[in-house]
């Protein structure tokens, strides 16, 4: 998983490394926005600071030419719901008088197992669309992680991309700086889209994306401190507290299991047998009883859920611990809120079956039977 930085956080890091960014202020109220534009002047961009892509199209970025427009933009954007996230901060930034928009980025090419630098003259638009429709418009250069991005490689990829010659060396130097940041911060992606070429033929980073590999946060205290709990809904926030891998979906069959592949398979089987999965919830390996009880609490608190299937194939997870957790969770209710089907296999499954309070759950022996029963339960409840 990755930890996303906000544009303003990434720009602070870029600026410190010597990459030019437009003058800007962070603001969290209309008054603060008005103070900021007074200092910065017009035109000014008012940009929502939320962790979603496509902010511009969704109305999260506005350009103000005067005081009225700035106030209007601040009122519109602050507090707005942007794809499920509430905007509580905006970046107020000096508008750039630009002639061209470029794209530069660095990411991990998993099929090569190496980072790759990417440069394109088609900046300012969704680069994934460019990659699909016109892949030749993006020049790529793989980087040996033992040595880093050599300056000649940065020049090569910039020339290959057809960057105008008068700014080519500047873009190449952006790129080597970006790779240094990528490497030293354990970034998973780093991207400037667009890099603007100004009318004075300078270049400036008009946007900034920087995502950090959260497996590496242990060695980046400064970045870890920027982590914010930003969840799309309360359930995902709760999953974050419990430390579960959880994704909410739109169906009504709640799914709990161990191991990503098996949980995904359980979702697929719910769909295959005519049901609709409500969530992905992986309790991970070696879960103890309390974690199991928390998982049930999670799924029960989703109002869309009409029935639950609990599918465990124990390797390091032990069936007896799972059974204990299920009992604990269910015995606390006077009436079981939603029917639960349990399937236990693998390590200590037999011990688990002996412990499991079968008055409270329905037991099935195979994955297919368990899923079909849960789908049937859900259909009966929702009728």
């Amino acid at each position: 998983m990755v930890m996303k930085l906000h544009e303003y956080q990434a720009k602070d890091i870029f600026a410190e490394a010597g990459i030019p960014v437009p003058e800007s202020r962070l603001a969290s109220s209309v008054e603060e926005v008005m103070e900021a534009v007074e200092e910065i002047g017009y035109p000014a961009a008012i940009k929502a600071q939320v962790h979603v892509g496509g902010r511009g199209k969704a109305g999260g970025i506005k350009i103000a030419m005067d005081e009225d427009e700035a106030r209007q933009a601040a009122e519109d954007i602050l507090g707005m719901d942007l794809k499920g996230y509430t905007v509580d901060r905006v970046l107020v930034e000096a508008g750039v008088d630009f002639e061209n928009e470029l794209y530069v980025g660095i990411t991990m090419d998993r099929s090569e197992g190496k980072p790759v630098a990417m440069v394109s003259t088609e900046g300012g638009v969704n680069i994934e669309e460019v990659a699909e429709e016109n892949p030749d418009a993006i020049a790529r250069e793989h980087i040996d992680p033992a040595f880093g991005l050599h300056p000649y490689q940065a020049r090569k990829v910039v020339f290959e991309a057809g960057i105008p010659r008068d700014v080519a060396f500047d873009v190449a130097s952006f790129l080597t700086t970006l790779y240094d940041l990528y490497d030293s911060n354990d970034a998973s992606d780093i991207e400037i889209n667009p890099v603007m070429i100004t009318s004075d033929r300078d270049i400036v980073a008009a946007d900034a994306v920087m995502n950090i590999d959260d497996d590496a946060l242990f060695r980046h205290e400064d970045l870890a401190a920027m982590e914010e709990d930003a969840y799309e809904n309360d359930l995902e926030a709760k999953a974050g507290e419990y430390g579960f891998d959880y994704v909410r979906l739109s169906g009504n069959v709640g799914i709990i299991g161990n191991g990503a592949g098996l949980v995904m398979t359980t979702l697929d089987l719910v769909d295959y047998f005519g049901g609709e999965p409500a969530n992905f919830l992986d309790i991970g390996g070696g879960a103890k009883a309390e974690r199991v009880a928390n998982a049930l609490d999670m799924v029960f608190s989703d109002e869309n859920v009409d029935s639950v299937v609990f599918n465990i194939f124990g390797g390091i997870t032990r069936g007896d611990e799972v059974a204990k957790g299920i009992n604990e969770a269910l015995e606390s209710f006077d009436k079981i809120p939603k029917p639960v089907v349990v399937r236990l296999a693998g390590t200590n499954a037999e011990e688990g079956m002996e412990i499991l309070n079968t008055d409270l759950v329905q037991v099935e022996g195979t994955l297919e039977d368990a899923v079909q029963r849960a789908v049937k339960n859900a259909q009966e409840v929702s009728q």
Partner: protein, 289 residues
């Protein structure tokens, strides 16, 4: 026959004195694996259940003639542990650790390409040749000796499919969990190639999942190079784009790459039947044998 591990495999457990390392060393020994040494920096000279502990992998190789290692070292130190193993020219390194930073793995991957060592993982359940040896955390009792090879990105899904096979009396030559991370050592293609060259493997199960392009590359390899029949399974058909499904590598990107549909159709085009359920995969394997 089998691939990558057998009764001649002499194992050193890296991180043998930790909780996980100690527990799974016992399980591996109980299964019959020849665990000859362990390492734990600073604890050289001690022993775990009579297995000698060394400070370095090099000593374990020099003193006990180890030729394979299993890494149970915590994620912050796992990259370093894999480098240490690679620098001693072991034949095989199996990295169980989950959560190794991706850039550490990119550096490991670079070093790996300069050695003859095989790396399996990280973030994987390991490898087992039933009746001979297991290196990792797979539950030994669900496996049976036989003629089907299995390679999978996921641990528990492997167990599910293996139990579907074993219940029907279909045993396995070797089963490998290659791991769910974006950068891994042994790929599907590497494992498929080894199974193709193993005369005792008469059919192969390949369990993939959404994300990346490894399954598509495997399909291409199967079509061009394999006579041994392969049956497949792909997890994540119902995964929405942009949401990571547990594994760091299991994500359908916004541009639509890495989808289950693309993987299933690539496999079907290569003549590989893909089961809708794990049990259907076992049906296909039964048909092959």
């Amino acid at each position: 026959m089998s691939i990558f591990v057998d009764d001649d495999t002499r194992v050193v457990v890296q991180g043998i004195t930790g909780g996980e390392g100690k527990f799974h060393t016992r399980q591996m020994v109980e299964y019959g694996t020849n665990v000859v040494a362990g390492t734990s920096p600073g604890k050289g000279g001690q022993d775990v259940d009579g297995i000698p502990v060394y400070d370095t992998v090099e000593e374990a190789v020099d003193e006990e003639d180890a030729n394979a290692s299993v890494v149970f070292v915590p994620p912050a130190f796992a990259g370093d542990a894999i480098f240490e193993a690679l620098d001693t020219d072991l034949d095989l390194v199996v990295a169980i650790t989950e959560g190794v930073p991706t850039q550490d793995m990119a550096k490991v991957n670079k070093r790996l390409s300069e050695t003859d060592t095989r790396l399996i993982g990280p973030n994987c359940p390991g490898i087992i040749t039933p009746g001979e040896a297991k290196l990792g955390i797979l539950p030994g009792n669900i496996f049976e000796e036989g003629n089907v090879g299995l390679v999978s990105r996921s641990g528990t899904l492997t167990y599910q499919v293996v139990s579907n096979l074993t219940e029907r009396g279909i045993g396995q030559t070797t089963a490998i969990g290659i791991g769910g991370d974006p950068i891994i050592g042994t790929s599907f293609v590497d494992a498929l190639e080894a199974f193709e060259n193993d005369p005792d493997t008469h059919a192969v199960v390949m369990c993939g999942e959404i994300g990346g392009e490894d399954e598509e590359q495997a399909a291409k390899y199967i079509a061009e190079n394999m006579d041994t029949p392969v049956a497949g399974f792909i997890a994540g058909r119902t995964a929405p784009p942009g949401k990571r499904m547990g594994h760091a590598g299991a994500i359908v990107s916004g541009s639509g790459t890495g989808t289950a549909e693309s993987k299933i159709s690539a496999l079907n085009d290569a003549g590989v039947p893909v089961g809708d359920t794990p049990n259907e995969v076992a049906d296909h394997i039964e048909d092959f044998l």
